[in-house]
Structures are given as C-alpha cells and as structure tokens.
C-alpha cells in the first residue's frame, strides 16, 4: 500500500513563514499535492464518519491510563512534540529542534513559534513543562505516558520557547517516547480543570476539536480553523479539509463492514481478515494496512516453571506447531509471518527464520532427549507421572477470532508431538488474573510502543517484578544478566550504530533462547470508501491521520 503523499516537508518553524505558507496555500488551494493515486483537487468541507471497533475510551485525555483506543481518537485533536517519517526518522512536530547533551543527561527542545491551543493559550515551554508534570503526577493515573517519561527528573523553561529536561539516566528512547500520542501536549489551562472535565474534552493544538461526546454512541470533532502546526511530513498546511468528524463506536465487525458498504460510514478500523478478503472484490472499498510498532504478536513461553524451564522443551514446542499453514489459511493473506520480537515497522528489528521451522521429527527427538519419553492413553507425553500439559489463557478482547482459530490449529499440531494445550478463553480482567497468579505456560500479549526500547520492558528481569496489581510485562519471565545489561545499555546509547548493535544482540538472545514464538505484526487494518482521499496512518503508532483527508463527492 503506498500513500498519495510521501514527500516530507520540513516544518516551517518561524511564525512569519507559517503564516505566509498558509496564505499561499489557501490562495492556490494546495496546488502542490501529488496525485499518484487519488486524482483530483482536495475539496474542503464535509463530515467524515469513522467507525471504530476498539473499546470506547474511558477518558479522551490519553495521559490518563493510556491505551490504543485513546491514541486513535487523540491523534485527531492532540499533537506530540515530534513525529516519525516513513523511513523511521524522527521529524519535527510541535518541537522544531532538539539537542542532547554530551553526557545524555540534558535535552533541550525548541518549540515551534506561533502555535496556540484551541482555547487560546499559547504553546510555550511552560505549557510543555506542565504536561510533563501532569503525566508524572500520580493523581493523573497515567501508565503508558508515565513509563515513557520515567527518566525525566525535572524540566525548566529556559525562555519562552526553549525547554530543558534533566534526566536521571541517558534515554536513547526519549524522542521515540515523545512521538507517542500518550504524551501529546495539552493546554495547561485546560489541564487545571477537574479530571472529569478534561477527560470529556481535552484541549490541544490539533486539526480538530472535541465538541461533544455521547457515551456509547459517538464523539463529534470539528475543524480547528486556526490550525497551523502540521507535522513535517504532512501533505498540506493550514486548517484541515474536513469540516468535522463523527467518531462512532460500532463494536461488531460485521456491522462495521455493513455500515461501510452502505455508505453510512467512510472509514472503519479493526477490519478482520475475512472482511478484508471480501473487500478486495469491492471497487468502492480500499484497504490500509498499518502494523503497529513495538513488539510483534508472539507467544511467550513461561520459563519460570515446568515444562518450559527446560530449553529443550521450549524448542520442541516451537518445532511442533505449524504456524505458517495456520496463518495463511486463517488470515487470507492479510498477515505476514514474523520471525522477530519486534514489529516489521521497527527499523532495528532482527529476524531469524531458521530458528522457527515446523519440524515434527525434531520436536519428537527433543522431547525424547528431555525425558518426556512415555505417552498416555490419549497420546500425550508423560514424565514422572505428569502429563506434558500447557495452560494457555487467551484474552478474547485482544485475540481476534482468526487468532483464536490459529491457536486451535496450533493445539492440534502440538498434540501430534505429545503436547496438551489447554486453551482457556477469558475476558480481559480474568486474563489478567490468570497471569498475576502465574497460572499460564503460554500467553499472547500485545505491546505497542515506538522504538526498540520495548524490548527492555518485555525482557528485562526488572519487568518480572509484578506491580501491585500483579501484572508484569516480562511474561516469558526471562532473567539473564547478559540480556539485562544489553537492554540497559541500549536504552542509554544514542549513537545509532552502537544502539543497533546492542539491540540486535539482545534480540538474538531472545530468539535463540526460544523464549518466544513470533507470529506476525500487531494487526491494524483500516478499510475506507473510495471517496476518501489522502488517508494515511501516522508512522508513529499507526493511528489514522485525518488532517490531509478530503471527501470527493
């Protein structure tokens, strides 16, 4: 899938430049926008209806909590300090320039001039400082943003547009963290309101403004007429083309697709493999595949207890399950097999296909070697009277139906080698409960974060220590000093080549230790009607951007 607009434009940092550009573009109605795919001039006006299958956010301020449904919506009305282009390079957004000190402990950000929040408050260093304080304040109950900004010790406004951050330790992931919607910048004046008020209508600098939120139905967003802060890779400048967006909540996949076909909605997310396949025969409907960054979707093998405390059994399991046939038959070609702990959109991802081939004979040999030599009446392997049995809690909120079917196929192929997989479909809270009680041998848990630092969260031994809730992110429960050291060093090394080498080494350890079985990228498919032009997903966390979108009548 290629996007109509690929030419990055450097942000116009000076106010005069921005104003001039706006005037110019308004005058010649975006004459420069390419027309590779969507021929025709951008049309201003109209209401776009977006139907999301994700859960309805509990709070529209993504600082609070911080999950993907919030990121989807917030990308329309809030903007972060930096963004990423299609090549994975960090590019300016609300911050025009930045500088890291020699020792990596001080960062200086220069903000864009002349930007205002939609309540009239100016964007300045004090505003950004207030946002960092808001994310770090326990009262806010931020989790994703809180983890992202964990290394920031203090912030000071050097002058109106210059912000200095003092860090507890060097943070090579700081820019990637600042590109995420969970730490997007909001009006400091609006943040002073009660959390209820701010959750209902956060105030940002984005191209749209939250006007109304009817719970369980829709959010209405209207155009920000004074908008002047697009990211450096946007296709135009000035206000958005669309006059408004209706953000509808349609939980049922078939209903979303039917509504799209009927023309009631223009764009849907969470398109399922069968729907995408059906849409391929439909001229009016187009497909946008935007895998999420961070970790790949993978099975994690719990090494903290038998039988996966034995590396031979882990490798035997990986060799015993036929992932590829399942993926190709159940996902209709919409998902590509991964052999990496990281998403394919991560430039530093490292793959090794040779480790993950389906090989039942090898699986049997390894299990024999590991001492699982006998079989019981049902054909499962037994050792010391114990059956080779694997608990596999599956969250029905996170695993789409195709993935649940894939797990059933894995169950069937693993049985031939003598593994019993006990699939246990659970709702989200029960699933958390099973993990907190260490009541699992296999689990699939998504994790979205920009950049390879996600590896530290997933595989550093610190992440095996449960939070008070009992949850921990290192679900393979890997505890290796060598790996810890690489991940810590990686998070503190800004030199691109050194950083890449450290993360490659770390990924090799993860893959060769058979702590995980990579499946595919975190699936993130959008379907949209052909009258929608200029749609793209932001290269940061793959949320759709409607700033450049217009509707052809």
């Amino acid at each position: 899938m290629s996007f109509p607009f690929r030419t990055p434009r450097r942000a116009v940092v000076s106010a005069a430049g921005a104003v001039a550009a706006v005037v110019l573009l308004a005058g010649c109605s975006a004459g420069g926008t390419g027309s590779e795919e969507n021929a025709g001039e951008p049309v201003s006006g109209g209401n776009l209806v977006y139907a999301t299958g994700d859960a309805e956010p509990t709070c529209l301020d993504p600082h609070v909590g911080g999950n993907y449904p919030q990121a989807l919506a917030a990308s329309q009305y809030l903007e972060p300090l930096v963004s990423k282009n299609d090549d994975g390079e960090i590019i300016p957004w609300l911050a025009g320039e930045w500088q890291e000190s020699e020792d990596g402990l001080t960062w200086t950000f220069t903000l864009r001039e002349g930007v205002q929040f939609t309540d009239g408050t100016p964007l300045n260093a004090e505003a950004v400082k207030a946002n960092i304080a808001h994310v770090q304040d326990p009262e806010t109950a931020s989790s994703t943003g809180y983890l992202a900004l964990q290394k920031i010790e203090s912030a000071e406004a050097v002058d109106d547009l210059t912000l200095k951050l003092n860090l507890k330790a060097p943070d090579s992931a700081l820019l990637e963290s600042f590109s995420m919607p969970w730490v997007a910048i909001q009006s400091p004046k609006a943040l002073e309101r009660s959390q209820e008020e701010n959750c209902a209508a956060p105030v940002g600098t984005g191209p749209f403004i939250v006007e109304d939120w009817v719970k369980q139905d829709s959010i209405t967003m209207v155009r920000n007429e004074n908008y002047n802060s697009p990211p450096a890779d946007a296709a135009h400048e000035g206000p958005a083309y669309l006059e408004s967006i209706t953000w509808k909540f349609i939980p049922e996949s078939a209903t979303r697709y039917a509504a799209l076909q009927a023309g009631e909605v223009h764009v849907i997310d969470n398109a399922q493999p069968d729907t995408i396949a059906a849409a391929e025969n439909n001229d009016v409907i187009k497909h946008l595949d935007a895998p999420r960054p961070g970790a790949s979707n993978r099975l994690e093998l719990n090494t903290s207890k038998a039988p996966f405390n034995d590396p031979l059994v882990r490798e035997a399991f990986v060799r015993a399950v036929n992932v590829n046939d399942g993926v190709s038959s159940l996902f209709f070609g919409t998902a590509e097999r991964s052999y990496s702990p990281l998403s394919s959109v991560e430039p530093l991802g490292y793959s090794d296909e040779s480790l993950f081939g389906y090989d039942p004979a090898e699986a049997n040999r390894l299990l024999d070697e590991a001492g699982w030599t006998e079989r019981d009446a049902e054909g499962y392997r037994v050792k010391d009277g114990e059956r080779l049995s694997l608990e596999f809690p599956v969250s029905t909120n996170q695993s789409i139906p195709a993935e649940q079917s894939l797990f059933e196929q894995l169950q069937a192929t693993a049985k031939e080698a003598g593994f019993e997989i006990k699939l246990n479909l659970l709702d989200l809270s029960s699933w958390y409960g099973a993990l907190a009680e260490n009541d699992y041998n296999l689990v699939s848990a998504p994790y979205t974060k920009v950049g390879p630092d996600v590896l530290r969260i997933l595989f550093h031994s610190d992440s095996t220590v449960p939070a008070p809730s009992g949850y921990f992110a290192n679900l393979s429960q890997v505890k290796l000093d060598e790996l810890d050291e690489l991940l810590t060093k990686g998070s503190e090394t800004s030199d691109p080549a050194d950083r890449a080498a450290l993360y490659e080494e770390a990924q090799k350890i993860v893959l060769e230790g058979y702590y995980i079985l990579p499946l595919y990228d975190q699936q993130n498919h959008f379907l949209y009607r052909s009258e929608v032009s200029g749609l793209r997903a932001l290269p940061t966390v793959s949320t759709p951007a409607f700033y450049d979108v217009w509707l052809n009548s």
Binding site: A51, A55, E56, P57, T58, C59, G65, G66, N67, Y68, P69, Q70, P138, E139, T140, A141, S142, S143, T144, Y146, L147, E196, A200, V214, K215, Q216, D217, K248, F249, I250, P251, E252, A254, T255, R256, A258, A259, Q261, A262, E264, V265, N397, D427, L428, S429, S430, W431, Y432, G433, A436, P446, Y447, T448, I457, A467, P468, S469, G470, Y471, A473
Partner: protein
C-alpha cells in the same frame, strides 16, 4: 420507593367488587386494607427484597471473577499501569477498603438512591441509565408488541387452515424459538443491509433504523409465544363453548375472534413478564451488533470492565423493570380472565 398509605374502604362497599378487588380483610391492629392495597404492599416489599438481593449478588458475584477493577479502570492491556497509578485509583474508588466495608458503603448509598459514579465512563450512573434506558425500553416494548402480533397471527392462521398449516406453523415457531439472537441479527444485516441494501445496519431511533433490531429480538420470542398461544387456541376451538357458538350459527372466523382469541392470549399475557426479561437479556447482544446505545450494551461493557457501580445500576433498573412488568401482566391477566377475579 416509599410505602403507600393504606386506603380506608368506604363503608358499605360490597365484599366482592367487579373491578378485581377481593373481600376486605382485617389486620391484627384492626386497620382494614382492601385486597388491592395488600396486593400492592406485597409487591413493593417483594420488589425491595429483589432489589436488595440483586445488589448483594452483583456485589459479591463480580468479585468472584478474577481480575482487578483498578487495572481495568486504567484502560487494560496496552497500558501496563504503574504502581502509583493503581494505588491512586484504589484510593479514589475506595477499592483499598475491606470488602464488607465496601459492601455496606455501597448499600448505604443505594438506600439513599445514590447509584454512584461509573468507573469506566466517569459519569453518575443515574445519569447514564437515564440516557440509556429509554432506547432499550422502546426497543423491548416494540419487540414485545411485534412478537405478540406475529405469534397471534400465526396461531390464528394455522387454527383456521387445518392440519397442514398447523405443521407449518409449528415448524416455524420451533425454528424461530431456537435461533440465537446474535446469529439472527447477523443474518438480518447480511440480507437486508449488505445484499438488498434496504435497511441500515446501524440502528437509530428512526423507523427504518428500528426494524432490524426489533425483528432480531421479536422473532425468537414470537416462536416461543406462538407455541403456547396456538395450543390454547386449538383447545378453545374444540371446547364446548366454541361448539355452542358454532351451533348458534357463528362462522369459524367469528368463533376465533370472539371466543378463542381471549383464551390464546392468556398464556401469552402470563408469559409477558418472563418475555420482557428475556428481551432485556437479548438486548445485550442485539444492541452490540446493531451498535445501538442502550442498557444491554452498557451492561456488556460494564461487566468487561468490572465497573461495579454501573453493573449494579443496570441490574437494579432491569430488576425493577421486570418487577413492574410482572405486576402489570398480573393485572392484565386478571382483567382478561374473569375466573381469576373470584379466586
């Protein structure tokens, strides 16, 4: 809910009136209460008991399922909550208190009519229910009406058209009653929205937006009601009073409408309370599929998120609606069947 003031019967009132009131009784303290008031009081006491039981069951039941509400409040999977955030949430929502303290705190609030604030939607539960209830009531009431009409229509048609029609009707009824709501709803969307393009898949309160969800709810219920109604209608048509009506020269259609219909309606009325309950549970599925705001969808989200105040609120309102409809169907049954009044 406040108790009603006992009504003093007028002196000389007949012991058995034709409006369904039974003979007046004497209480221990000598206050005489008409049967209707006694009946009402019993209903109110029963309703209060049901509501308390529902609140208690929900409170403890939702805690038996594993999972931490604090984690759920913070948005679940992608958001690995920090310890500080979790503690903050536990303090804010009183989740750090002992279970019994939480229970009595909640019960105390409920007695004062305070349903609390929803964890997940951060709004007063009463306000949320106020917004969601009318849509669900409209949907359920229309579905009940449509189910009634379909069931009666089918029963009447099959009664007048002999054995073959009875077999067809019975087959249709069994099929309709056996169909799960989610399957029926998906098929209706596939047929009327995707293929024919006649009706929108996303429900609104406009006429064409209501057709599919109402049908999805009404068809299974119609199948069930139809089975009972058709049987009573057939019995009535072969009973002595039908025979004497025919002897007086009444045609089959006349016998059906003037005599058998009332009999067919009786089990239907008696079942309407139950039917309404089944519609509320069906609304959970149907509202989700047709993306229709309402009580059912609220409940589904609330359970998933362990939103205890909201689950309790929805359950209490549903229980109350159920009690009211049961009472109404009692009254309707007495009105339709004179035999019950003397009892």
């Amino acid at each position: 809910m406040s108790g009603s003031t006992p009504e003093q019967p007028a002196p000389g009132r007949p012991a058995l009136s034709d409006d369904g009131r039974g003979p007046a009784r004497t209480l221990a303290d000598g206050v005489r209460l008409p049967t209707t008031v006694r009946w009402l009081l019993a209903k109110v006491v029963g309703a209060v008991f049901v509501l308390w039981a529902v609140a208690t069951l929900i409170f403890f039941g939702i805690r038996l399922i594993p999972g931490d509400p604090a984690e759920a409040i913070l948005g679940g999977p992608g958001s690995q909550a920090s310890p500080e955030a979790l503690e903050q949430v536990r303090r804010d929502y009183g989740l750090d208190q002992p279970l019994l303290v939480q229970y009595f705190t909640q019960l105390g609030r409920l007695v004062q009519g305070d349903l609390g604030d929803s964890y997940s939607l951060r709004m007063p539960v009463a306000e949320l229910l106020g917004n969601q209830l009318p849509g669900t009531l409209l949907l359920s009431a229309l579905a009940l009406l449509v189910a009634w009409l379909l069931a009666l229509g089918l029963a009447g048609w099959s009664t007048l058209n002999g054995k073959a029609a009875a077999v067809v009707a019975s087959g249709l009824e069994i099929a309709a009653a056996a169909v799960p709501h989610f399957w029926l709803a998906s098929i209706l969307i596939l047929l009327f929205s995707n293929t024919l393009g006649w009706l929108p898949p996303v429900s609104t309160n406009s006429a064409d937006g209501l057709v599919l969800p109402v049908l999805a709810l009404a068809l299974p219920l119609a199948g069930f009601l139809g089975q009972v109604m058709r049987e009573s209608m057939l019995n009535a048509m072969t009973s002595p009073f039908a025979l004497s009506a025919r002897a007086r020269g009444e045609g089959e259609t006349g016998v059906l409408f003037r005599h058998a219909l009332r009999h067919a309606a009786l089990p239907g009325i008696a079942l309407s309370g139950w039917a309404f309950g089944s519609l509320l549970s069906g609304a959970v599925v149907v509202e989700s599929i047709f993306a229709r705001p309402g009580l059912g969808r609220t409940l589904l989200n609330a359970v998933t998120l362990r939103d205890i105040p909201l689950v309790t609120g929805v359950a209490l309102v549903s229980a109350l609606a159920y009690v009211v409809v049961m009472a109404a169907s009692d009254v309707a049954e007495r009105a339709a069947d004179p035999r019950l009044r003397a009892a």
